[in-house]
Protein backbone atom coordinates (compact mmCIF):
# COMPACT_ATOMS: atom_id res chain seq x y z
CA UNK A 1 0.00 0.00 0.00
CA UNK A 2 2.84 2.38 0.71
CA UNK A 3 5.21 1.68 -2.14
CA UNK A 4 4.94 4.45 -4.67
CA UNK A 5 6.64 2.54 -7.45
CA UNK A 6 3.82 0.05 -7.46
CA UNK A 7 2.15 0.06 -10.85
CA UNK A 8 -1.08 -1.41 -9.54
CA UNK A 9 -2.44 -0.07 -6.28
CA UNK A 10 -6.13 -0.67 -6.77
CA UNK A 11 -7.66 -4.01 -7.64
CA UNK A 12 -8.17 -4.16 -11.36
CA UNK A 13 -11.71 -4.24 -12.57
CA UNK A 14 -13.25 -7.66 -12.12
CA UNK A 15 -10.87 -8.69 -9.37
CA UNK A 16 -12.58 -10.46 -6.47
CA UNK A 17 -13.70 -8.47 -3.50
CA UNK A 18 -11.67 -9.57 -0.53
CA UNK A 19 -12.90 -7.03 1.95
CA UNK A 20 -14.86 -7.86 5.06
CA UNK A 21 -17.98 -6.52 3.43
CA UNK A 22 -17.96 -9.53 1.17
CA UNK A 23 -18.70 -11.82 4.12
CA UNK A 24 -22.42 -12.05 4.62
CA UNK A 25 -23.77 -10.26 7.64
CA UNK A 26 -25.37 -13.42 8.94
CA UNK A 27 -22.11 -15.36 8.93
CA UNK A 28 -20.19 -12.52 10.41
CA UNK A 29 -22.75 -12.01 13.16
CA UNK A 30 -23.06 -15.71 13.96
CA UNK A 31 -19.33 -15.94 14.27
CA UNK A 32 -19.13 -12.84 16.42
CA UNK A 33 -22.00 -13.89 18.66
CA UNK A 34 -20.69 -17.35 19.35
CA UNK A 35 -17.13 -16.26 19.93
CA UNK A 36 -18.55 -13.61 22.23
CA UNK A 37 -20.53 -16.27 24.03
CA UNK A 38 -17.32 -18.17 24.82
CA UNK A 39 -16.06 -15.13 26.64
CA UNK A 40 -19.41 -14.78 28.37
CA UNK A 41 -19.14 -18.42 29.43
CA UNK A 42 -15.85 -17.71 31.14
CA UNK A 43 -17.42 -14.85 33.05
CA UNK A 44 -20.46 -16.88 33.90
CA UNK A 45 -18.16 -19.41 35.53
CA UNK A 46 -15.86 -16.90 37.14
CA UNK A 47 -18.58 -14.73 38.68
CA UNK A 48 -20.07 -17.36 40.99
CA UNK A 49 -16.58 -18.39 41.93
CA UNK A 50 -15.78 -14.82 42.82
CA UNK A 51 -18.96 -14.54 44.84
CA UNK A 52 -18.37 -17.76 46.75
CA UNK A 53 -14.78 -16.91 47.46
CA UNK A 54 -15.80 -13.44 48.51
CA UNK A 55 -18.48 -14.81 50.84
CA UNK A 56 -16.05 -17.21 52.41
CA UNK A 57 -13.26 -14.67 52.61
CA UNK A 58 -15.34 -11.93 54.09
CA UNK A 59 -17.06 -14.11 56.65
CA UNK A 60 -14.24 -16.53 57.35
CA UNK A 61 -11.29 -14.18 57.06
CA UNK A 62 -11.84 -12.49 60.38
CA UNK A 63 -12.13 -15.78 62.20
CA UNK A 64 -8.80 -17.21 61.18
CA UNK A 65 -6.11 -16.89 63.79
CA UNK A 66 -3.33 -19.07 65.07
CA UNK A 67 -5.59 -20.16 67.91
CA UNK A 68 -8.40 -21.01 65.50
CA UNK A 69 -6.06 -23.18 63.46
CA UNK A 70 -4.55 -25.04 66.39
CA UNK A 71 -6.92 -25.06 69.36
CA UNK A 72 -9.22 -27.92 70.22
CA UNK A 73 -12.78 -27.84 69.01
CA UNK A 74 -15.13 -26.41 71.64
CA UNK A 75 -18.05 -28.63 72.46
CA UNK A 76 -20.37 -25.78 73.10
CA UNK A 77 -21.83 -24.09 70.06
CA UNK A 78 -22.71 -20.92 71.92
CA UNK A 79 -19.38 -20.07 73.40
CA UNK A 80 -16.84 -18.21 71.37
CA UNK A 81 -13.20 -19.26 71.27
CA UNK A 82 -11.52 -22.52 70.54
CA UNK A 83 -10.65 -23.60 67.05
CA UNK A 84 -10.69 -26.41 64.57
CA UNK A 85 -7.15 -27.77 64.96
CA UNK A 86 -8.26 -31.41 65.29
CA UNK A 87 -10.40 -31.08 62.15
CA UNK A 88 -7.47 -29.71 60.17
CA UNK A 89 -5.27 -32.57 61.33
CA UNK A 90 -8.10 -34.99 60.65
CA UNK A 91 -8.65 -33.63 57.13
CA UNK A 92 -4.97 -33.91 56.34
CA UNK A 93 -4.65 -37.40 57.76
CA UNK A 94 -7.84 -38.81 56.29
CA UNK A 95 -7.53 -37.23 52.88
CA UNK A 96 -3.82 -38.06 52.82
CA UNK A 97 -4.46 -41.69 53.64
CA UNK A 98 -7.25 -41.84 51.07
CA UNK A 99 -4.91 -40.40 48.47
CA UNK A 100 -2.23 -42.83 49.48
CA UNK A 101 -4.59 -45.70 48.75
CA UNK A 102 -6.44 -44.34 45.75
CA UNK A 103 -3.58 -42.81 43.77
CA UNK A 104 -1.45 -45.94 43.27
CA UNK A 105 -4.50 -48.10 42.69
CA UNK A 106 -6.07 -45.59 40.36
CA UNK A 107 -2.92 -45.06 38.37
CA UNK A 108 -2.30 -48.80 38.13
CA UNK A 109 -5.88 -49.33 37.03
CA UNK A 110 -5.47 -46.63 34.41
CA UNK A 111 -2.28 -48.29 33.23
CA UNK A 112 -4.19 -51.50 32.84
CA UNK A 113 -6.90 -49.79 30.81
CA UNK A 114 -4.61 -47.84 28.52
CA UNK A 115 -1.53 -50.03 28.22
CA UNK A 116 -2.93 -53.53 28.47
CA UNK A 117 -6.71 -53.76 28.34
CA UNK A 118 -7.27 -51.18 25.59
CA UNK A 119 -10.53 -52.07 23.86
CA UNK A 120 -10.89 -55.58 25.25
CA UNK A 121 -14.29 -56.38 26.70
CA UNK A 122 -12.94 -56.57 30.26
CA UNK A 123 -11.28 -53.19 29.93
CA UNK A 124 -14.44 -51.71 28.46
CA UNK A 125 -16.41 -53.12 31.37
CA UNK A 126 -13.99 -51.68 33.92
CA UNK A 127 -14.05 -48.34 32.15
CA UNK A 128 -17.81 -48.24 32.21
CA UNK A 129 -17.98 -49.35 35.83
CA UNK A 130 -15.49 -46.65 36.78
CA UNK A 131 -17.76 -44.11 35.12
CA UNK A 132 -20.66 -45.49 37.08
CA UNK A 133 -18.67 -45.45 40.29
CA UNK A 134 -18.04 -41.72 39.89
CA UNK A 135 -21.78 -41.30 40.21
CA UNK A 136 -22.18 -43.26 43.44
CA UNK A 137 -23.37 -40.65 45.95
CA UNK A 138 -20.94 -40.06 48.76
CA UNK A 139 -23.57 -40.93 51.34
CA UNK A 140 -24.06 -44.34 49.74
CA UNK A 141 -20.30 -44.80 49.84
CA UNK A 142 -20.45 -43.86 53.51
CA UNK A 143 -23.24 -46.36 54.14
CA UNK A 144 -21.22 -49.01 52.35
CA UNK A 145 -18.15 -48.47 54.48
CA UNK A 146 -20.34 -48.27 57.59
CA UNK A 147 -22.04 -51.55 56.93
CA UNK A 148 -18.80 -53.33 56.02
CA UNK A 149 -15.73 -51.88 57.69
CA UNK A 150 -17.22 -49.99 60.65
CA UNK A 151 -19.62 -52.70 61.74
CA UNK A 152 -16.94 -55.36 61.26
CA UNK A 153 -14.36 -53.64 63.43
CA UNK A 154 -16.93 -52.08 65.75
CA UNK A 155 -15.37 -48.68 65.63
CA UNK A 156 -15.58 -45.49 63.69
CA UNK A 157 -12.16 -44.27 62.71
CA UNK A 158 -10.25 -41.96 60.44
CA UNK A 159 -9.28 -44.95 58.39
CA UNK A 160 -12.89 -45.82 57.67
CA UNK A 161 -13.30 -42.30 56.34
CA UNK A 162 -10.14 -42.67 54.30
CA UNK A 163 -11.58 -45.86 52.79
CA UNK A 164 -14.79 -44.11 51.82
CA UNK A 165 -12.91 -41.18 50.32
CA UNK A 166 -10.55 -43.53 48.50
CA UNK A 167 -13.53 -45.30 46.96
CA UNK A 168 -14.83 -41.93 45.81
CA UNK A 169 -11.47 -40.89 44.39
CA UNK A 170 -10.55 -44.15 42.72
CA UNK A 171 -12.77 -43.97 39.65
CA UNK A 172 -12.03 -40.29 39.07
CA UNK A 173 -8.30 -40.97 39.17
CA UNK A 174 -8.58 -44.01 36.93
CA UNK A 175 -10.52 -42.22 34.23
CA UNK A 176 -8.56 -39.00 34.20
CA UNK A 177 -5.23 -40.79 34.33
CA UNK A 178 -6.26 -43.02 31.49
CA UNK A 179 -7.10 -40.02 29.37
CA UNK A 180 -3.69 -38.55 30.08
CA UNK A 181 -1.85 -41.78 29.30
CA UNK A 182 -3.67 -41.89 26.01
CA UNK A 183 -2.08 -38.58 25.07
CA UNK A 184 1.46 -39.90 25.50
CA UNK A 185 2.83 -40.39 22.01
CA UNK A 186 3.42 -43.98 21.05
CA UNK A 187 6.86 -43.07 19.75
CA UNK A 188 8.10 -42.71 23.30
CA UNK A 189 6.94 -46.19 24.20
CA UNK A 190 8.48 -47.59 21.04
CA UNK A 191 11.75 -45.81 21.62
CA UNK A 192 12.00 -47.31 25.05
CA UNK A 193 11.00 -50.78 23.93
CA UNK A 194 13.48 -50.60 21.10
CA UNK A 195 16.19 -50.08 23.68
CA UNK A 196 15.30 -53.40 25.21
CA UNK A 197 13.21 -52.02 28.05
CA UNK A 198 10.48 -54.25 29.35
CA UNK A 199 7.00 -52.95 29.12
CA UNK A 200 6.64 -52.32 32.82
CA UNK A 201 9.83 -50.31 32.90
CA UNK A 202 8.77 -48.41 29.84
CA UNK A 203 5.50 -47.63 31.53
CA UNK A 204 7.02 -46.60 34.83
CA UNK A 205 10.06 -44.73 33.58
CA UNK A 206 8.84 -43.20 30.33
CA UNK A 207 5.08 -43.17 29.97
CA UNK A 208 4.15 -42.05 33.47
CA UNK A 209 6.68 -39.21 33.68
CA UNK A 210 5.56 -37.98 30.27
CA UNK A 211 1.96 -37.77 31.43
CA UNK A 212 2.61 -36.72 35.01
CA UNK A 213 1.37 -33.18 34.63
CA UNK A 214 -2.05 -34.16 33.36
CA UNK A 215 -2.28 -37.06 35.78
CA UNK A 216 -1.61 -34.67 38.63
CA UNK A 217 -4.40 -32.40 37.49
CA UNK A 218 -6.84 -35.26 37.53
CA UNK A 219 -5.65 -36.48 40.90
CA UNK A 220 -6.00 -32.99 42.31
CA UNK A 221 -9.56 -32.76 41.10
CA UNK A 222 -10.23 -36.04 42.86
CA UNK A 223 -8.52 -34.96 46.07
CA UNK A 224 -10.28 -31.64 46.06
CA UNK A 225 -13.57 -33.40 45.76
CA UNK A 226 -12.72 -35.91 48.47
CA UNK A 227 -11.42 -33.29 50.88
CA UNK A 228 -14.76 -31.55 50.67
CA UNK A 229 -16.90 -34.61 51.30
CA UNK A 230 -19.13 -34.32 54.31
CA UNK A 231 -21.59 -37.16 54.46
CA UNK A 232 -19.17 -40.10 54.75
CA UNK A 233 -17.09 -38.25 57.33
CA UNK A 234 -20.05 -37.65 59.61
CA UNK A 235 -21.12 -41.21 59.11
CA UNK A 236 -18.02 -43.33 59.45
CA UNK A 237 -15.35 -41.14 61.03
CA UNK A 238 -17.26 -40.10 64.11
CA UNK A 239 -16.24 -37.04 66.01
CA UNK A 240 -13.54 -35.79 68.32
CA UNK A 241 -12.88 -32.52 70.03
CA UNK A 242 -9.17 -33.01 70.47
CA UNK A 243 -6.55 -34.03 67.98
CA UNK A 244 -6.36 -37.70 67.20
CA UNK A 245 -3.16 -38.51 65.35
CA UNK A 246 -4.16 -42.10 64.82
CA UNK A 247 -6.24 -43.17 61.88
CA UNK A 248 -7.01 -46.55 63.35
CA UNK A 249 -7.49 -45.92 67.03
CA UNK A 250 -10.48 -43.87 67.95
CA UNK A 251 -12.78 -41.50 66.19
CA UNK A 252 -11.65 -38.48 64.27
CA UNK A 253 -13.13 -35.47 62.54
CA UNK A 254 -12.56 -33.32 59.48
CA UNK A 255 -13.25 -29.79 58.30
CA UNK A 256 -16.29 -30.49 56.12
CA UNK A 257 -17.97 -32.21 59.06
CA UNK A 258 -17.22 -29.19 61.24
CA UNK A 259 -18.58 -26.87 58.59
CA UNK A 260 -21.76 -28.88 58.38
CA UNK A 261 -22.10 -29.29 62.14
CA UNK A 262 -21.52 -25.66 62.99
CA UNK A 263 -23.35 -24.18 60.07
CA UNK A 264 -26.56 -25.83 61.23
CA UNK A 265 -26.41 -23.87 64.47
CA UNK A 266 -27.96 -20.47 64.87
CA UNK A 267 -25.36 -19.25 67.32
CA UNK A 268 -22.95 -16.68 65.99
CA UNK A 269 -19.76 -18.35 67.32
CA UNK A 270 -20.72 -21.62 65.62
CA UNK A 271 -21.43 -19.89 62.32
CA UNK A 272 -18.11 -18.10 62.49
CA UNK A 273 -16.40 -21.41 63.00
CA UNK A 274 -18.25 -22.78 59.98
CA UNK A 275 -17.06 -19.99 57.70
CA UNK A 276 -13.57 -20.09 59.16
CA UNK A 277 -13.45 -23.83 58.53
CA UNK A 278 -14.66 -23.33 54.98
CA UNK A 279 -11.91 -20.82 54.31
CA UNK A 280 -9.33 -23.09 55.90
CA UNK A 281 -10.48 -26.01 53.80
CA UNK A 282 -10.35 -24.05 50.57
CA UNK A 283 -6.90 -22.78 51.41
CA UNK A 284 -5.67 -26.27 52.22
CA UNK A 285 -6.97 -27.63 48.94
CA UNK A 286 -5.48 -24.70 47.11
CA UNK A 287 -2.09 -25.07 48.74
CA UNK A 288 -2.08 -28.71 47.77
CA UNK A 289 -3.04 -27.83 44.25
CA UNK A 290 -0.14 -25.45 43.98
CA UNK A 291 2.39 -27.78 45.59
CA UNK A 292 1.32 -30.68 43.42
CA UNK A 293 1.54 -28.54 40.31
CA UNK A 294 5.04 -27.48 41.18
CA UNK A 295 6.07 -31.06 41.77
CA UNK A 296 4.37 -32.18 38.59
CA UNK A 297 6.09 -29.50 36.58
CA UNK A 298 9.43 -30.79 37.72
CA UNK A 299 8.65 -34.20 36.28
CA UNK A 300 6.62 -33.08 33.34
CA UNK A 301 7.64 -33.06 29.70
CA UNK A 302 9.97 -30.14 29.43
CA UNK A 303 9.38 -28.13 26.33
CA UNK A 304 12.22 -26.18 24.88
Amino acid sequence: MTTTAEPVTRPPAGAPDLSRRALSLRRRLTNRIFLGLFVVAVFVAVVPLGLVVWSVLSRGGGVISWEFLTADIPNSFRRPGGGVGPAIIGTLLITGMAALMAIPLGVLGAIYLNEYGKQRPLARLIRMMADIMTGVPSIVMGLFIYSTWVLLFETRSGFAGALALACLMLPVIIRSTEEMLRLVPDELRQASLALGARKWRTTVTVVLPAAISGITSGILLAIARAAGETAPIVFVVGITASTNWSLFDGENTALPAQIFRNASQVFEPAQERAWGSALTLIVIVLVFTIIARIIANRFAIKER
Binding site: A123, I126, D131
Partner: protein, 328 residues
Protein backbone atom coordinates in the same frame (compact mmCIF):
# COMPACT_ATOMS: atom_id res chain seq x y z
CA UNK B 1 20.47 -72.92 17.96
CA UNK B 2 23.83 -71.27 18.21
CA UNK B 3 25.78 -74.17 16.78
CA UNK B 4 26.72 -72.87 13.37
CA UNK B 5 27.43 -69.33 14.39
CA UNK B 6 30.15 -68.64 16.81
CA UNK B 7 30.28 -65.47 14.78
CA UNK B 8 29.41 -62.11 16.33
CA UNK B 9 30.43 -60.98 19.77
CA UNK B 10 29.31 -63.92 21.76
CA UNK B 11 26.98 -62.55 24.42
CA UNK B 12 24.97 -60.93 21.70
CA UNK B 13 23.73 -64.24 20.47
CA UNK B 14 21.95 -65.29 23.64
CA UNK B 15 18.46 -64.20 22.87
CA UNK B 16 16.48 -66.37 25.20
CA UNK B 17 15.04 -64.67 28.22
CA UNK B 18 17.20 -64.52 31.26
CA UNK B 19 16.39 -64.02 34.89
CA UNK B 20 12.99 -62.86 36.00
CA UNK B 21 12.55 -60.37 33.21
CA UNK B 22 9.40 -61.67 31.65
CA UNK B 23 8.05 -62.57 35.04
CA UNK B 24 8.46 -58.98 36.21
CA UNK B 25 6.47 -57.89 33.19
CA UNK B 26 3.82 -60.45 33.89
CA UNK B 27 3.62 -59.46 37.55
CA UNK B 28 3.25 -55.82 36.66
CA UNK B 29 0.47 -56.59 34.27
CA UNK B 30 -1.27 -58.69 36.87
CA UNK B 31 -0.85 -55.86 39.37
CA UNK B 32 -2.47 -53.35 37.05
CA UNK B 33 -5.20 -55.80 36.21
CA UNK B 34 -5.83 -56.32 39.90
CA UNK B 35 -6.19 -52.57 40.36
CA UNK B 36 -8.64 -52.48 37.48
CA UNK B 37 -10.59 -55.41 38.84
CA UNK B 38 -10.75 -53.66 42.20
CA UNK B 39 -13.20 -51.23 40.66
CA UNK B 40 -15.43 -54.10 39.69
CA UNK B 41 -15.02 -55.70 43.11
CA UNK B 42 -15.82 -52.55 45.06
CA UNK B 43 -18.76 -51.77 42.86
CA UNK B 44 -20.08 -55.30 43.16
CA UNK B 45 -19.62 -55.17 46.90
CA UNK B 46 -21.46 -51.87 47.10
CA UNK B 47 -24.29 -53.27 45.05
CA UNK B 48 -24.49 -56.46 47.08
CA UNK B 49 -24.38 -54.87 50.52
CA UNK B 50 -26.75 -52.08 49.65
CA UNK B 51 -29.21 -54.36 47.90
CA UNK B 52 -29.12 -56.73 50.83
CA UNK B 53 -29.81 -53.94 53.27
CA UNK B 54 -32.47 -52.43 51.06
CA UNK B 55 -34.22 -55.74 50.56
CA UNK B 56 -36.89 -55.35 53.27
CA UNK B 57 -38.11 -52.20 51.55
CA UNK B 58 -38.05 -53.71 48.06
CA UNK B 59 -39.76 -56.76 49.42
CA UNK B 60 -42.52 -54.73 50.97
CA UNK B 61 -43.02 -52.16 48.25
CA UNK B 62 -42.20 -54.14 45.12
CA UNK B 63 -42.41 -52.05 41.97
CA UNK B 64 -44.32 -49.37 43.83
CA UNK B 65 -40.98 -48.34 45.26
CA UNK B 66 -40.27 -46.57 42.01
CA UNK B 67 -43.72 -45.99 40.62
CA UNK B 68 -45.52 -44.51 43.59
CA UNK B 69 -45.30 -40.90 44.58
CA UNK B 70 -45.88 -41.18 48.32
CA UNK B 71 -43.14 -41.18 50.92
CA UNK B 72 -44.92 -41.75 54.20
CA UNK B 73 -42.67 -43.44 56.77
CA UNK B 74 -45.28 -43.44 59.57
CA UNK B 75 -47.56 -45.47 57.31
CA UNK B 76 -44.64 -47.59 56.11
CA UNK B 77 -45.20 -46.48 52.53
CA UNK B 78 -42.08 -45.77 50.57
CA UNK B 79 -42.75 -44.66 47.01
CA UNK B 80 -39.68 -42.85 45.69
CA UNK B 81 -40.97 -41.63 42.33
CA UNK B 82 -40.87 -37.98 43.37
CA UNK B 83 -37.21 -38.28 44.34
CA UNK B 84 -36.33 -40.03 41.09
CA UNK B 85 -38.10 -37.23 39.29
CA UNK B 86 -36.32 -34.63 41.41
CA UNK B 87 -32.93 -36.14 40.72
CA UNK B 88 -33.69 -36.22 37.01
CA UNK B 89 -35.03 -32.69 36.78
CA UNK B 90 -32.25 -31.15 38.87
CA UNK B 91 -29.57 -32.98 36.91
CA UNK B 92 -31.23 -31.90 33.69
CA UNK B 93 -31.28 -28.26 34.76
CA UNK B 94 -27.65 -28.54 35.83
CA UNK B 95 -26.67 -29.96 32.45
CA UNK B 96 -28.67 -27.39 30.52
CA UNK B 97 -26.67 -24.64 32.18
CA UNK B 98 -23.32 -26.34 32.70
CA UNK B 99 -22.82 -27.96 29.30
CA UNK B 100 -22.96 -24.84 27.14
CA UNK B 101 -20.96 -22.85 29.66
CA UNK B 102 -18.34 -25.58 30.01
CA UNK B 103 -18.04 -26.06 26.28
CA UNK B 104 -17.84 -22.32 25.86
CA UNK B 105 -15.02 -22.07 28.36
CA UNK B 106 -13.23 -25.06 26.87
CA UNK B 107 -13.53 -23.61 23.38
CA UNK B 108 -12.42 -20.24 24.62
CA UNK B 109 -9.36 -21.81 26.16
CA UNK B 110 -8.47 -23.99 23.18
CA UNK B 111 -9.48 -21.79 20.26
CA UNK B 112 -9.58 -18.20 21.36
CA UNK B 113 -7.59 -17.38 24.44
CA UNK B 114 -4.13 -15.97 24.05
CA UNK B 115 -1.56 -18.42 25.36
CA UNK B 116 -0.83 -16.15 28.34
CA UNK B 117 -4.41 -16.29 29.49
CA UNK B 118 -4.76 -20.04 29.42
CA UNK B 119 -2.82 -21.00 32.54
CA UNK B 120 -4.55 -18.53 34.84
CA UNK B 121 -7.94 -19.44 33.44
CA UNK B 122 -7.29 -23.11 34.03
CA UNK B 123 -6.22 -22.33 37.58
CA UNK B 124 -9.40 -20.41 38.21
CA UNK B 125 -11.47 -23.31 36.91
CA UNK B 126 -9.53 -25.70 39.15
CA UNK B 127 -10.17 -23.40 42.06
CA UNK B 128 -13.86 -23.71 41.38
CA UNK B 129 -13.45 -27.46 41.68
CA UNK B 130 -11.69 -27.03 44.99
CA UNK B 131 -14.64 -25.39 46.72
CA UNK B 132 -16.24 -28.09 48.86
CA UNK B 133 -19.83 -28.85 48.06
CA UNK B 134 -20.97 -28.05 51.59
CA UNK B 135 -19.69 -24.51 51.06
CA UNK B 136 -21.67 -24.29 47.84
CA UNK B 137 -24.63 -25.56 49.80
CA UNK B 138 -24.24 -22.91 52.48
CA UNK B 139 -23.69 -20.20 49.95
CA UNK B 140 -26.61 -21.41 47.89
CA UNK B 141 -29.08 -21.47 50.74
CA UNK B 142 -27.98 -18.34 52.58
CA UNK B 143 -26.91 -16.05 49.76
CA UNK B 144 -28.19 -17.21 46.40
CA UNK B 145 -31.64 -18.62 47.02
CA UNK B 146 -33.18 -15.46 48.57
CA UNK B 147 -31.60 -13.26 45.90
CA UNK B 148 -33.04 -15.36 43.11
CA UNK B 149 -36.64 -15.09 44.29
CA UNK B 150 -37.33 -11.73 42.63
CA UNK B 151 -35.79 -13.02 39.41
CA UNK B 152 -37.96 -16.12 39.55
CA UNK B 153 -40.97 -13.92 40.18
CA UNK B 154 -40.04 -11.82 37.20
CA UNK B 155 -39.72 -14.84 34.95
CA UNK B 156 -42.98 -16.24 36.25
CA UNK B 157 -44.78 -12.98 35.59
CA UNK B 158 -43.31 -12.88 32.12
CA UNK B 159 -43.81 -16.46 31.01
CA UNK B 160 -46.33 -17.83 33.50
CA UNK B 161 -49.24 -17.03 31.25
CA UNK B 162 -48.02 -18.91 28.21
CA UNK B 163 -49.81 -22.28 27.93
CA UNK B 164 -47.16 -25.01 28.18
CA UNK B 165 -44.10 -22.99 29.12
CA UNK B 166 -46.10 -21.26 31.81
CA UNK B 167 -46.42 -24.50 33.73
CA UNK B 168 -42.67 -24.94 33.74
CA UNK B 169 -42.18 -21.45 35.14
CA UNK B 170 -44.94 -21.62 37.71
CA UNK B 171 -45.36 -19.85 41.03
CA UNK B 172 -41.95 -19.63 42.74
CA UNK B 173 -41.67 -20.73 46.36
CA UNK B 174 -40.96 -17.87 48.71
CA UNK B 175 -37.65 -19.20 50.00
CA UNK B 176 -36.05 -19.66 46.60
CA UNK B 177 -35.20 -23.23 47.54
CA UNK B 178 -36.36 -25.15 44.53
CA UNK B 179 -35.40 -27.33 41.59
CA UNK B 180 -34.00 -24.35 39.73
CA UNK B 181 -31.72 -23.10 42.49
CA UNK B 182 -30.48 -26.61 43.16
CA UNK B 183 -29.86 -27.12 39.45
CA UNK B 184 -27.99 -23.84 39.18
CA UNK B 185 -25.72 -24.60 42.13
CA UNK B 186 -25.09 -28.07 40.73
CA UNK B 187 -24.28 -26.50 37.38
CA UNK B 188 -21.59 -24.42 39.04
CA UNK B 189 -20.24 -27.53 40.72
CA UNK B 190 -20.01 -29.68 37.61
CA UNK B 191 -18.77 -26.95 35.28
CA UNK B 192 -15.10 -27.44 36.19
CA UNK B 193 -15.37 -31.18 35.61
CA UNK B 194 -16.95 -30.90 32.20
CA UNK B 195 -14.68 -28.01 31.26
CA UNK B 196 -11.46 -29.77 32.11
CA UNK B 197 -12.35 -32.89 30.15
CA UNK B 198 -13.82 -30.98 27.23
CA UNK B 199 -10.64 -28.97 27.02
CA UNK B 200 -8.58 -32.14 26.71
CA UNK B 201 -10.98 -33.44 24.08
CA UNK B 202 -10.82 -30.28 22.00
CA UNK B 203 -7.06 -30.30 22.26
CA UNK B 204 -6.95 -33.64 20.51
CA UNK B 205 -8.76 -32.42 17.40
CA UNK B 206 -6.12 -32.62 14.69
CA UNK B 207 -4.73 -29.29 13.59
CA UNK B 208 -5.24 -30.47 10.02
CA UNK B 209 -8.98 -30.77 10.42
CA UNK B 210 -9.26 -27.25 11.69
CA UNK B 211 -6.97 -25.95 8.96
CA UNK B 212 -9.01 -27.74 6.34
CA UNK B 213 -12.18 -26.03 7.45
CA UNK B 214 -10.56 -22.62 7.64
CA UNK B 215 -8.96 -23.11 4.26
CA UNK B 216 -12.43 -23.49 2.80
CA UNK B 217 -13.26 -20.01 3.98
CA UNK B 218 -14.98 -21.00 7.20
CA UNK B 219 -15.26 -18.50 10.00
CA UNK B 220 -13.93 -19.64 13.35
CA UNK B 221 -17.36 -20.62 14.54
CA UNK B 222 -18.05 -22.53 11.34
CA UNK B 223 -14.73 -24.26 11.81
CA UNK B 224 -15.76 -25.27 15.31
CA UNK B 225 -19.10 -26.68 14.20
CA UNK B 226 -17.68 -28.29 11.10
CA UNK B 227 -14.37 -29.70 12.27
CA UNK B 228 -14.15 -29.59 16.06
CA UNK B 229 -17.57 -30.86 17.13
CA UNK B 230 -17.80 -33.92 14.89
CA UNK B 231 -14.39 -34.96 16.10
CA UNK B 232 -15.13 -34.46 19.75
CA UNK B 233 -18.57 -35.94 19.99
CA UNK B 234 -17.59 -39.12 21.81
CA UNK B 235 -15.27 -37.37 24.22
CA UNK B 236 -17.84 -34.71 24.98
CA UNK B 237 -20.48 -37.28 25.77
CA UNK B 238 -17.97 -38.80 28.18
CA UNK B 239 -17.38 -35.42 29.80
CA UNK B 240 -21.08 -34.77 30.16
CA UNK B 241 -21.67 -38.22 31.63
CA UNK B 242 -18.99 -37.64 34.22
CA UNK B 243 -20.58 -34.32 35.12
CA UNK B 244 -24.01 -35.93 35.19
CA UNK B 245 -22.69 -38.64 37.52
CA UNK B 246 -21.49 -35.98 39.89
CA UNK B 247 -24.76 -34.09 39.63
CA UNK B 248 -26.89 -37.13 40.31
CA UNK B 249 -24.77 -38.17 43.25
CA UNK B 250 -24.45 -34.80 44.94
CA UNK B 251 -25.90 -34.89 48.42
CA UNK B 252 -25.21 -32.18 50.95
CA UNK B 253 -25.58 -29.17 48.71
CA UNK B 254 -28.83 -30.42 47.25
CA UNK B 255 -30.15 -31.38 50.65
CA UNK B 256 -29.71 -27.77 51.68
CA UNK B 257 -31.11 -26.07 48.61
CA UNK B 258 -33.83 -28.12 47.00
CA UNK B 259 -36.55 -27.30 49.51
CA UNK B 260 -37.42 -30.88 50.46
CA UNK B 261 -40.94 -31.42 49.28
CA UNK B 262 -42.21 -34.72 48.00
CA UNK B 263 -43.87 -33.72 44.78
CA UNK B 264 -43.80 -34.17 41.05
CA UNK B 265 -44.45 -30.95 39.24
CA UNK B 266 -43.46 -29.37 35.98
CA UNK B 267 -42.83 -26.15 37.87
CA UNK B 268 -39.06 -25.70 38.14
CA UNK B 269 -39.62 -22.98 40.70
CA UNK B 270 -41.26 -25.42 43.10
CA UNK B 271 -39.53 -27.32 45.87
CA UNK B 272 -38.76 -30.97 45.46
CA UNK B 273 -36.31 -33.51 46.64
CA UNK B 274 -33.65 -35.73 45.16
CA UNK B 275 -32.56 -39.24 46.04
CA UNK B 276 -29.13 -38.62 47.59
CA UNK B 277 -30.47 -35.66 49.55
CA UNK B 278 -33.32 -37.75 50.94
CA UNK B 279 -30.88 -40.44 51.98
CA UNK B 280 -28.47 -38.13 53.71
CA UNK B 281 -31.07 -36.16 55.55
CA UNK B 282 -33.36 -38.94 56.66
CA UNK B 283 -30.98 -41.80 57.40
CA UNK B 284 -29.94 -40.48 60.80
CA UNK B 285 -33.34 -40.76 62.44
CA UNK B 286 -34.46 -43.82 60.53
CA UNK B 287 -34.73 -47.40 61.66
CA UNK B 288 -35.91 -50.71 60.26
CA UNK B 289 -37.73 -50.67 56.94
CA UNK B 290 -37.34 -46.93 56.74
CA UNK B 291 -33.56 -47.31 56.68
CA UNK B 292 -33.93 -50.09 54.12
CA UNK B 293 -36.04 -47.84 51.93
CA UNK B 294 -33.46 -45.06 52.08
CA UNK B 295 -30.67 -47.43 51.10
CA UNK B 296 -33.01 -48.69 48.39
CA UNK B 297 -33.01 -45.20 46.92
CA UNK B 298 -29.24 -45.54 46.65
CA UNK B 299 -29.67 -48.77 44.73
CA UNK B 300 -32.18 -47.14 42.39
CA UNK B 301 -29.77 -44.28 41.80
CA UNK B 302 -27.05 -46.77 41.06
CA UNK B 303 -29.19 -48.61 38.54
CA UNK B 304 -30.13 -45.31 36.91
CA UNK B 305 -26.46 -44.46 36.54
CA UNK B 306 -25.79 -47.81 34.93
CA UNK B 307 -28.61 -47.28 32.45
CA UNK B 308 -27.51 -43.77 31.56
CA UNK B 309 -23.93 -44.87 31.06
CA UNK B 310 -24.95 -47.78 28.89
CA UNK B 311 -27.16 -45.61 26.74
CA UNK B 312 -24.44 -42.97 26.43
CA UNK B 313 -21.89 -45.51 25.37
CA UNK B 314 -24.26 -46.91 22.79
CA UNK B 315 -24.84 -43.40 21.43
CA UNK B 316 -21.12 -42.78 21.24
CA UNK B 317 -20.51 -46.08 19.50
CA UNK B 318 -23.20 -45.45 16.96
CA UNK B 319 -21.95 -41.97 16.29
CA UNK B 320 -18.44 -43.26 15.92
CA UNK B 321 -19.47 -45.94 13.48
CA UNK B 322 -21.32 -43.33 11.49
CA UNK B 323 -18.36 -40.98 11.49
CA UNK B 324 -15.44 -43.32 11.10
CA UNK B 325 -17.19 -45.40 8.50
CA UNK B 326 -17.29 -49.14 8.26
CA UNK B 327 -13.84 -49.38 6.77
CA UNK B 328 -11.79 -48.56 9.82
Amino acid sequence: MTTQTQTGPDPKTALSSRGGGPRADRSFQVLTLAAGLLVLAVLALILITTTREAWPAFDEMGLRFITENRWDPPSEIYGGLAFIYGTAIVSLIALIFAVPVSLGIALFLTELAPRRLRAPAVTVIDLLAAVPSVVFGLWGVLVVAPKLVPIYNGIHDLLGGIPVIGRVFGEPVGSGRNFMTAGLILAIMITPIITSIAREVFDTVPRGDKDAALALGATRWEMITGAVFPHSFGGLVGAVILGLGRAMGETIAIALIIGSSTQITANVFASGNAMPAVIVSQIGESTGTFTAALIGLGVVLFVMTVIINTVAQAIVRRAEIRMRGAAS
